[in-house]
């Protein structure tokens, strides 16, 4: 079984070597911000895995929920244990496409469209991003998600502490896949 897996992986690697359009980062940054009258909550994750193919525009992003670092450890504990249930759903994922990578009117602005999975729930999202393509492929942007869309239950006691809309900021600087 393990050998088959290794062979498949080797196949993927060689495929990647032939197609020279793939860019990867293992250190992308995604942070989120919740503003409420009671408190502001921010968490940052520097371990984002993202792969983008600039020929087709395909993009895949994987996020470890436990990698989100909060200022207060209690917030981190509540986030992982009660809200996103990281033990049950350890990863968030995005798979989609940069839809206008070839024929964007503004060279540095693109739309990314695809499926975002958080807390085991998948929703379609469309996000505007800044793109820079030179030796590296950099994607940056900000978008918002509704907590309710991902069936994340916030207990009524802390309802006023957590915003209903969460602002997500991403910065992914991909390097050529070697």
């Amino acid at each position: 079984m393990k050998y088959i897996f290794t062979i498949i992986i080797c196949f993927i690697i060689t495929n990647n070597l032939i197609a020279q359009d793939r860019y990867i980062t293992k250190q992308g940054t995604i942070s989120f911000f919740s503003h409420s009258p009671v408190e502001d909550i921010e968490a940052i994750n520097n371990q984002i895995l993202s792969i983008v193919d600039i020929e087709t525009g395909d993009i895949a992003i994987s996020v470890l929920m436990k990698s989100f670092m909060f200022e207060k450890s209690l917030m981190q504990e509540h986030f992982n244990e009660n809200y996103v249930e990281s033990d049950k759903f350890p990863k968030a994922k995005f798979t989609g496409k940069i839809i206008d990578i070839k024929d964007s009117t503004d060279k540095n602005k693109v739309f990314i469209e695809g499926d975002l999975t958080i807390h085991g729930i998948t929703n379609k999202v469309k996000v505007k991003a800044d793109i820079e393509v030179d030796n590296n492929v950099s994607l940056k942007g900000v978008f918002t998600v509704l907590v309710a869309d991902y069936e994340i239950n916030i207990p009524s006691v802390v309802k006023n502490n957590i915003a209903k809309t969460i602002e997500i900021t991403f910065s992914l600087n991909h390097k050529k896949f070697k």
Binding site: K2, K26, Q27, N46, Q47, K66, M69, S73, L74, K91
Partner: protein, 142 residues
């Protein structure tokens, strides 16, 4: 002491205690990885093999634990926020390795590190993407 005072004093004391412990809990510090004793001691090949064989099982075993990993350095690099990232050398049969994100307080000791060197790192395991990720790491032994 009047009857009223008999009620007010214990009530005030109780409220003060609740606020005190509430605030203490709210401001509870993060685990200090430098001082903590590791929950699991392993090496870079073993941990990556366990995650590749059965990710769900390995998640249960390693997530949120303080893991001490020994191995050879493949790459040392700085992130955009100037944090140091050490990538362990992977064994030849598998794809993927162990990536350690070091605490910023560790930077001074890293000047002496070389590729291929055998080191021991302690950090919190947050999971497996293409590689096993350890965060808030510090060097145990160079």
């Amino acid at each position: 002491m009047s009857k009223k005072e008999k009620i007010i004093f214990p009530a005030l004391l109780a409220i003060t205690l609740i606020i005190f412990f509430g605030l203490k809990e709210y401001n509870k510090p993060h685990v200090n990885v430098v001082k903590a004793t590791p929950d699991i001691i392993t090496n870079s090949e073993e941990i990556i093999n366990e995650f590749q064989d059965n990710e769900g099982f390995a998640n249960k075993k390693y997530l949120d634990q303080i893991v001490q990993v020994s191995g050879h350095i493949s790459k040392i690099e700085a992130s955009e926020n100037n944090d140091i990232i050490i990538t362990f050398l992977n064994n030849k049969t598998s794809f993927g390795t162990v990536i350690c994100h070091l605490s910023s307080s560790e930077n001074k000791e890293l000047i002496n590190l070389k590729e291929g060197q055998n080191i021991v790192v302690k950090g919190i395991c947050t999971g497996y993407l293409m590689d096993v990720i350890l965060v808030r790491c510090n060097l145990v032994k160079i």
